[in-house]
Symmetry: C2
Subunit: 453 residues, 2 copies
């Protein structure tokens, strides 16, 4: 009997297990329901034990981590695979936009709708189920498999850095499968080999102590104009980033990264259509769009506010202005040094008066696109008969991947196929296709088989 046959023969039970997990509203952003939240962690723990792993809850300053280990000969030389996921979910609001209860999973046309099914509970349970089926098929796992399943991913993983640093030895591994499991719009599995870093800041400018009548518009300091002036030094008139020293920090992309970009199918017209735009920023076109998105830093204005923004024509000189900016960073650019660059850049141009508030920083992380774990992920997709997987040097977004990839030095990728571009992650009517979910169970089981050999 093969693992595929085992899946085929137990679809109802596998799905029932997923549904049970999805019914638990483990919303990390909502404090106060620690009891029911913890019940979700304990449920995951029990499933790991059922699959034969030694599992435990490990406390953090926030929600507990589910940690588990299984397999290997208990010798130091065992090959080790680490799996990272999270059992918490985003809040379901706005509720009125859901077509069915976010915590009462419903299948419509082969698609399962529920909060967390695509991010990240489908992925979490598929890996555990794959482990169990592997054991049923092959017996004991000949390598060590570790599970790190946290409960704070959807609130920015505040306890994870300390947890990982405190447990560096416990978490050591030869490769890591990070959460993030996705097919593209043509049904091709996507493999991501890194995440961008990020520096999130607020720039604040101040004028008079109170809003002034705009008869003083020619003589009063205007903080909104001040911000415009400062911002314009960060990008030139063509929209190119001109932050002093930022470019110099970049570790140039590898030949392999550039080749990987060439191999990514990119439907430019479809992306523009989905955004309702005629052109990309700076009229980027073709593979330049992908290179920019995956390999280059950004200087994004996420929000800006000053003065009167209601209807009609109120005439004031505002007293305050602020802009929220996120700089997505690539390998070589740490948020700390970039923050210093930004401060020095502004001071050098006479903007000492603009306050730079550091709101958030994340390191970039990068695993080579030709690393053994990446190659294995690609080959495993061939094993299961999926369309040829597409390897992305990074995912464009950011996350705490560097804790594992950089600090622990573990090659880390995202692979799997639970979600798809219509999955509405973080939004109402989150969904995953049942076929993709079952395929992912088989994929992870086959991944373990390859890792064992």
């Amino acid at each position: 009997m093969s693992i595929d046959e085992r899946i085929e023969g137990s679809k109802n039970e596998l799905l029932e297990e997923l549904v049970e997990l999805l019914r638990m509203p483990s919303i990390s952003a909502k404090a106060g329901d620690a009891g029911s939240f913890r019940a979700c962690a304990e449920w995951v723990l029990a499933k790991l034990e059922e699959a034969g792993a030694a599992a435990r809850l490990m406390e953090t300053d926030g929600h507990p981590v589910v940690y588990a280990e299984i397999g290997g000969a208990d010798g130091d030389g065992d090959r080790t695979l680490l799996s990272y996921g999270h059992y918490d979910v985003q809040p379901p609001e706005p509720l009125e936009l859901w077509e069915s209860d976010p915590f009462e999973p419903e299948v419509r046309g082969g698609v399962l709708f529920a909060r967390g099914v695509a991010d990240d509970k489908g992925d979490v349970i598929a890996r555990i189920q794959a482990l169990r089926l592997y054991g049923e098929e092959h017996g004991p796992l000949p390598f060590k498999l570790k599970f790190l399943i946290e409960g704070e991913e959807e609130i920015g993983s505040p306890s994870l850095p300390a947890f990982v640093r405190r447990n560096a030895e416990l978490l050591s591994a030869d490769a890591c499968l990070w959460e993030g499991s996705m097919k593209d719009d043509a049904g091709r599995p996507m493999i991501f080999c890194g995440t961008k870093g990020m520096l999130y800041v607020e720039l604040r400018a101040r004028g008079a102590s109170h809003d002034l009548h705009s008869m003083y518009g020619g003589i009063a300091p205007n903080p909104a104009w001040r911000l415009v002036q400062a911002l314009r030094t960060i990008k030139d008139e063509n929209g190119e980033i001109t932050l002093d020293g930022l470019e110099e920090l970049i570790s140039p992309p590898s030949k392999e990264d550039l080749e990987a970009i060439e191999n990514i199918p990119f439907n430019e017209a479809a992306l523009k259509a989905s955004w309702g735009v005629d052109s990309f920023d700076r009229n980027l076109a073709g593979k330049e769009v992908l290179k920019e998105m995956l390999l280059r830093p950004t200087a994004n204005i996420a929000g800006i506010q000053s003065g009167y923004t209601g209807p009609g024509s109120k005439t004031i000189v505002p007293s305050e202005a602020f802009v929220k900016m996120d700089f997505r960073l690539v390998a070589g650019q740490s948020p700390g040094p970039v923050l210093e660059l930004l401060r020095e850049h502004l001071v050098r141009r006479g903007f000492e008066d603009i306050e730079v508030v550091d709101l958030h920083g994340v390191e970039a992380a990068k695993t080579p696109v030709n690393s053994p774990v990446t190659r294995q992920a690609v080959e495993t997709w061939r094993d299961v008969g999926a369309r040829e997987a597409v390897v992305y040097p990074t995912i464009g977004g950011s996350g705490p991947t560097s804790l594992v990839a950089t600090e622990l030095g573990i090659p880390t990728i995202m692979t799997g196929a639970v979600a798809n571009p219509e999955s509405r992650i973080h939004a109402p009517n989150e969904s995953a296709r049942l076929d993709d979910y079952f395929e992912s169970i088989g994929y992870f089981a086959r991944f373990f088989e390859r890792f064992a050999s």
Copy 2:
């Protein structure tokens, strides 16, 4: 018996009359109380009739105008003085900041607190009282005095343009005393010989059809950045206005305007202290500050908004951005042509995508600082023993003055002394000093005496 003696002997009655007017909540912004609002217009009308004038309510598309005439020999050659004021007031909110009821006038330490006392009811009734006292002292007025007292000034005088154009002949005059009656912080009467024009626009930029994850920050069109780029073409890096063609429209200030500026006492340190700033825009200093405020156009950002402006670090590429701008205009710069300049300026630089929404336009108005009516205003202040009046080429702010000054061609100034810099016009605890109010009655009566001679 002199007029001064008459004022001295009837202070209680004069004040009681003012208090009666202030008790009427003639808030033009609050629709639906047309009855009580109209009662205020009728009260003013009755006072004009009591003073001997032929008064009537004249309907408009909004609140009625109180119009009155008195004096002269009914010949076409009569010298004529027009007085403009308004009987409506600003809403009193926020009520909790008032130390006494806004519509229950209260005297504290020689200062009368009530909504409208400084803007403009004190001024309105002082002129009517001056007319009555003039009659008691001298008998019939040997020139024609016309009163135009509207009820929509505090909502932007929407019906005034049509009213003035429809009644151009009725309103014809040799000079006009506009509302706006003020002493400076050293107790010097201020005479204003003009108002700036204004163009108020909203510039709108659009990106994708919805906010995007900021992982697309390097490739998605960002409307906030787009606005920053567009705005920066309107001012250079030194903060100087660089709107194509704006400068060329300016009618240069007269030698007399420049001389007037030299004669304006200007306490630079006090103004900076009251704003809590260390320097003016572009480090302007000395008389340059006044020249800029009174004689130069502005390009003010009154408000700007895009994307996420709440707490913390939400990472989006906003789908929309807008900025609200008021351009204060000087003689020669009409809002219509300036709007065209702005549109052409943006298109010429490739910003066809930015929508320019015209929200409001007002013409500048200018009466020479050495016109007969200005000279008479200065001399009348000497007559009543006030500190030497200060003549301002303009008031820096804007208003519908051009309807009279430009369209009807009537030399128009603002003079009087009811308000002072502490009067909190439009704000809670609006006030006027009783001494200034009584002095203003005497001033207007003396102004009529001089106009008669």
